[in-house]
């Protein structure tokens, strides 16, 4: 089990960026197909230089407390950064999870993928002119003995 310190407790007591953004520019969903857990990330983004910047971010979780803590930390890191930096953050998060037991990794992976879906959805909406809400399914499983083989991408 994750060791709990005062910083983690502070996130549990008051998860940062928890809630939704009405009329968000983009909504991305991370889903655990095994148990139905979901994380929904809302972003507002603005053009900055040759990229976009996440101006505002919020998330909701139909999931366990560990996922809520991961959402609080990851969205904090993503607020105010460019898409490129947010992608680095996602890649770093997913990389760090490679050595973590699957049942623990799933909680952070689902948040990282929801953020990825929000960014990709934003860009696809821009390209197609039609609002896209993407759902990315996690690879890790909350049960250590069962694994999903592929990241699936669905359009809502």
């Amino acid at each position: 089990m994750v060791q709990i310190d005062s910083e983690l407790i502070a996130h549990m007591q008051n998860p940062h960026n928890y809630g939704r953004i009405e009329n968000a520019d983009s909504i991305g969903i991370g889903k655990n197909p095994q148990n139905g857990e979901e994380v929904i990330v809302y972003i507002n983004a603005v053009k900055k230089d040759n990229d976009f910047m996440i101006e505002d971010i919020a998330f909701e979780a139909i999931a366990c407390m560990t996922t809520v803590v991961a959402g609080s930390i990851i969205t904090n890191e993503a607020k105010g950064v460019s898409f490129e930096m947010a992608r680095d953050l996602i890649a770093t998060t997913l990389g760090l999870l490679e050595n973590v037991p699957p049942e623990e990794a799933a909680c952070s992976e689902i948040v990282a993928l929801a953020l990825q879906a929000a960014i990709d959805g934003f860009l696809e909406t821009l390209k197609s002119g039609k609002k896209q809400t993407l759902i990315y399914k996690i690879k890790q499983s909350c049960s250590p003995n069962k694994e999903f083989n592929a990241v699936e991408k669905d359009e809502k």
């Binding site: 005062s6 407790i9 007591q13 139909i62 407390m65 560990t66 809520v68």
Partner: protein
């Protein structure tokens, strides 16, 4: 009217949290009673919204409650009460608005006189009474309290929503018992969190959790979740047994209470299936 509904929701939760913070028995009892009354206001306004065909949900803002002195949260509660009082004119039912108004005015009167006290509900000492738990058991207990306090709040809102939208007396009796049971658990867990210095307001519930499309499926899953909760209580009871008989007995007690919840949910499930009902 939905704005009043949201504000009363927030006021109810903050009042409940304040009751956990207080260690003065009289203040605690008053705050606890007021939170119960506010929950009833919440349900009455909800009924009015349904009657008038107004769309609503249980979304609300986060509620900051971290204070060092009770007086600070009492001041904030009075600010919120005054805010609701000003908004009552928006309710389409004058009798209901008047009933709420007189309750709120009495609350203001009592809160103003309530003595100040030091609040220790956020000191993160993670000690429950004088019980010494291992680091592992303390972490497990901490996580349990956060998970379960949210879960009980979620269940209160789900069963309350189902009850508000059902005209079946038999089902409503079951839903009300389940709401009451979850309140009892939430209050117990809230008191424990305050003792441990880790009090927090349960997070906002996503509407897909209470605006249920398939109640039969929800009840089936709910029964499985209750069975899992029983297991968790059993494990926690074992984990703390060598350090504290009192805590072990408490978890056994919660474990056995789940049997009753499961029986009620099975009853509701059978009723739905027999009558061919679903939302």
């Amino acid at each position: 009217m939905t704005k009043v509904f949201v504000k009363v929701h927030e006021l109810w939760l903050e009042m409940l949290m304040a009751s956990f913070m207080s260690q003065n028995l009289e203040s605690k009892r008053n705050l606890n009673d007021f939170s119960d009354i506010l929950f009833r206001h919440f349900t009455w306004i909800e009924r009015l919204l349904i009657k008038e065909g107004i769309e609503y949900d249980y979304n609300r803002d986060q509620i900051p409650i971290k204070v060092e002195n009770l007086k600070v949260i009492l001041q904030d509660l009075m600010r919120r009460i005054n805010e609701v009082l000003l908004m009552l004119a928006l309710l389409s039912d004058d009798a209901l608005a008047n009933r709420i108004k007189t309750d709120l005015e009495y609350m203001l009167f009592v809160l103003e006189k309530m003595p100040d006290e030091k609040v220790t509900a956020f000191n993160m000492n993670r000690k429950y009474k004088n019980i010494t738990l291992s680091d592992e058991a303390t972490d497990a207990f901490t996580l349990f309290l956060f998970e379960e306090s949210y879960k009980e709040y979620e269940l209160i809102m789900i069963y309350n929503y189902l009850k508000a939208h059902s005209n079946e007396d038999y089902l409503n009796k079951i839903f009300q018992i389940l709401v009451d049971e979850s309140f009892f658990h939430l209050k117990n867990f809230g008191e424990m969190m305050a003792q441990m210095g880790i009090l927090g307001v349960p997070r906002v519930i996503h509407k897909s959790l209470y605006q249920i499309e398939d109640v039969v499926e929800f009840l089936k899953n709910g029964i499985d979740e209750e069975l899992a909760a029983k297991e968790e209580c059993k494990n926690l009871s074992k984990a703390v047994a060598k350090d504290s008989i009192e805590l072990a007995k408490f978890f056994d007690f919660i474990n056995y209470q789940e049997n009753y919840h499961i029986a009620l949910m099975k009853d509701a499930l059978q009723y739905y299936e027999n009558k061919g009902l679903n939302v």
